[in-house]
């Protein structure tokens, strides 16, 4: 009582204003949270429903059951045949894209940043133009060319497309990061008689490790999250990936949507795990550049 009386009157509105803005920002935060998680929640909702029960207007999973996941685990539907083999194909595709992008990108950025080669800046320009290009616009001629190369229907055609689209970003980021490593290191190694390959292998790659991780994760997620090229380039079930399995659900008349959303959740787990484990690396890479989805 006496506190309130002795407190300067001018402080009261200010305190209230602080409260109002706090409540407003908390409300905004909750709205943002709902906005972000609603489609993710819908995935769970449909996946946990019984087949045929998906669209009954419920906003909570009433008869929640794990039938969808169990069927997926046992490959218990004609649409789920060899699912885990195809999941393995997706992993192969992602890892191959990652390794090749890091290797090809780091070699090129090594030349760009650390070797005196006439006209090598053209490479940087080409990389920038390729990075900016919308990849869907290249899809039709790409498929025709894969027919010519005899790579159509092979996982390698998908890998080739993803490496081609991921490497430019890798080069730009690695070139940027490489500037932090003093050239004197290379020069002293050269004086000691090291070949460029030894400089690359012993100095460049170890010191570039954080950037190589960022670029590798980027390439892996790019390939994992991409749909169009897998859908167009993979025709037979031998080299099918999860994206192709999803596509089959749309072509089927009586698709069990709970199975499909179970696949969606299982397929989303690796990128989510990678995101939470390697957030620092990814955001550091992002702070220098953009990521194409």
């Amino acid at each position: 009582m006496s506190m309130a009386l002795t407190a300067p009157l001018t402080r009261l509105p200010r305190f209230r204003r602080g409260l109002v803005s706090r409540v407003a920002s908390a409300t905004f935060g909750i709205v943002l949270l709902i906005w972000t998680l609603l489609p993710v929640y819908n995935m769970l909702l449909v996946a946990l429903d019984e087949d045929g029960d998906e669209f009954t207007g419920a906003i909570w999973p009433g008869n929640a059951n794990l039938d969808g996941f169990a069927a997926l685990w046992n490959e218990d539907s004609f649409l789920l045949e060899h699912f885990w083999y195809r999941f393995g194909n997706s992993i192969k595709m992602g890892l191959a894209t990652m390794v090749l992008t890091v290797l090809i990108g780091s070699l090129a950025s090594f030349v760009l940043g650390r070797m005196r080669l006439r006209g090598s800046r053209v490479i940087g320009d080409l990389a920038l133009v390729t990075y900016v290009l919308p990849t869907a616009f290249l899809a039709i001629p790409f498929v025709h060319i894969m027919h010519k190369y005899g790579l159509i229907d092979s996982l390698w055609s998908v890998i080739a497309s993803q490496v081609a689209f991921a490497t430019p970003y890798a080069i730009l980021i690695l070139h940027q990061y490489g500037k932090l490593i003093p050239l004197e290191l290379d020069e002293s190694a050269k004086v000691d008689g090291a070949t460029p390959w030894q400089v690359y292998r012993r100095i460049y790659v170890p010191l570039m490790a954080p950037a190589l991780v960022a670029v590798g994760v980027y390439a892996l997620l790019l390939a994992w999250n991409e749909y169009l090229y897998q859908y167009l380039l993979v025709l037979s079930m031998d080299s099918a990936t999860v994206a192709v399995v999803i596509n089959q659900f749309f072509n089927s008349d009586e698709a069990p949507w709970n199975y499909m959303m179970a696949i969606a959740i299982v397929y989303s787990l690796p990128p989510i795990a990678i995101y939470f484990a390697l957030r620092r690396f990814m955001i550091a890479g992002l702070a220098i550049g953009g990521v194409k989805g």
């Binding site: 949270l33 993710v40 909702l45 669209f55 090594f110 869907a136 039709i140 060319i145 999803i246 959303m261």
Partner: protein
């Protein structure tokens, strides 16, 4: 590195003269040139075989003028072109402006905002075709989650989202914003963090606080980044495929297609690949100037993409 460049270049900037100037001062021996060429072979090989050749082949596929006459005679193509313009104009600008504002919200590093940022970024990490399928299921029939929620809150039936062309198109745009808002917010957070604190302190002494600080200090310093991001997103959104393909899937009756989905459908569902390429190439009159402008801005600002 000057502080302004720091602010413009998200932390590390790339002055272009540095890019041009070979950095290794030691004279190159002949064998080193061979090494350098050998190191470049894999990238140049990939570029020629999987980028340059498809580009040239695509240009050749779409070079026949009669294809464009055919396109013009398809009323769906006119719809598609208009849809694409609307999709890009609204999608890109709302995303960018929203991201700019949200980045301010996330700049206050209280614990719950950090946590919220981590969750808010989830759409960016998720595979597009998976989440867009989920959004499609939210909208489809009157029993999708969104209609069920509307019914639970208001007691009345919501719209049938994928039956009306404008609502279906709006759904595509909202889904696009949902997926890409987090990514660009993060970019602008990085851009804001690169603005040195002493600039704000100086502005504070000059009396620029609150919204004045935002308008006279933060926005001008972010202007270059904002323009480049907008141009970049314009190019990418022009060629966006998964959003429309999964969310509205062209429904109702192929009235909500955009260029990428129209082209792919023409090429592979209706076996008219040349027409599909021509549809996508009709974006070139917008694409080429934007890309040129973008490259110039990147050079001028020294911003590394």
């Amino acid at each position: 590195m000057s502080s302004t460049k720091h602010a413009l270049g998200f932390g590390r900037s790339l002055p272009l003269d540095e890019w041009r100037r070979p950095s290794w001062r030691i004279h190159q021996q002949g064998s080193d040139t061979v090494w350098a060429l050998a190191f470049l072979v894999p990238y140049v090989g990939v570029f020629v075989a999987f980028v340059a050749y498809p580009v040239v082949f695509g240009l050749w596929m779409g070079h026949d003028p009669t294809l464009y006459g055919l396109l013009m005679s398809d009323p769906r193509f006119a719809d598609t072109a208009i849809n694409t313009l609307v999709f890009v104009a609204i999608g890109v600008n709302v995303t960018m402006f929203g991201a700019l504002l949200l980045s301010g919200f996330f700049m206050r590093r209280t614990w719950w905002r950090r946590l919220l940022l981590a969750v808010f970024l989830i759409p960016w990490a998720l595979p597009g075709f998976v989440v867009f399928t989920s959004i499609h299921f939210m909208l489809v029939t009157q029993w999708g989650l969104l209609d069920s929620l509307i019914r639970a809150v208001t007691g009345e039936d919501g719209p049938l989202f994928l039956v009306s062309t404008p609502i279906a198109m709006a759904s595509n745009i909202v889904a696009y914003i949902w997926k890409w808002l987090p990514f660009w917010t993060l970019i602008f957070v990085a851009g804001r963090m690169a603005i040195p604190q002493d600039i704000y302190e100086a502005a504070d002494i000059d009396g620029a606080t609150g919204h004045k600080r935002l308008i006279y200090v933060t926005f001008p310093l972010l202007a270059s980044v904002y323009l480049i991001c907008t141009l970049l997103d314009t190019v990418w959104t022009l060629g966006d495929f998964p959003t429309v393909y999964f969310v509205s899937s062209g429904a109702p009756a192929r009235t909500t297609e955009v260029l990428a989905t129209y082209g792919v459908r023409e090429a592979f569902d209706f076996a008219r690949p040349y027409l599909g390429v021509a549809a996508m190439m009709s974006a070139l009159p917008i694409l080429i100037p934007v890309v040129l402008l973008l490259m110039r801005r990147v050079r001028a600002a020294g911003v590394q993409l």
